[in-house]
Symmetry: C2
Subunit: 87 residues, 2 copies
């Protein structure tokens, strides 16, 4: 399946979340990732994220689509993914 993932976590935890999500998905923008992933790997990512996050204050949203073909992506302004190197 193809997913878009975005998190909104306390500043103290952004570094760890970035490092974790980059192991599974492609970074495209500040706190936003996309990519192909299996159910098993997604479950693993969610469990590991939940261990980092404060589930009372932090937020992680995942949009799942059966295939990338069902999503059309458009960028206005700068395409971060290619230009920026991240942590």
């Amino acid at each position: 399946m193809y997913i878009i993932l975005m998190y909104d976590v306390n500043e103290k935890r952004t570094g760890k979340m970035l490092k974790l999500c980059r192991k599974y998905l492609n970074w495209i923008q500040n706190s936003v990732f996309e990519g192909e992933i299996t159910e098993v790997k997604l479950k693993e990512l969610k469990n590991r994220a939940a261990l980092i996050m404060d589930n009372e204050t932090d937020s992680l949203i995942i949009f799942k689509s059966r295939s990338e073909r069902w999503l059309e992506k458009e960028i206005v302004g700068v395409e971060r993914a290619e230009t920026d190197n991240f942590l």
Copy 2:
């Protein structure tokens, strides 16, 4: 069509972008929106966003899906949309 929109803009411009996007879509997380929108309204939103943004440094990404039914949304941690009131 159903879209997920996220922006990554300079702090000076986040207030204006938030105000603009809220007129068309539902705020779900820091700089992230979702919602049903027509081609015409999306074009209008993109044009108005481009006027606010610095297209050399700011980034706006839109994922389009033909219908909300083709997207499954999952939340880990806090669901911001309902709990937070925003600007």
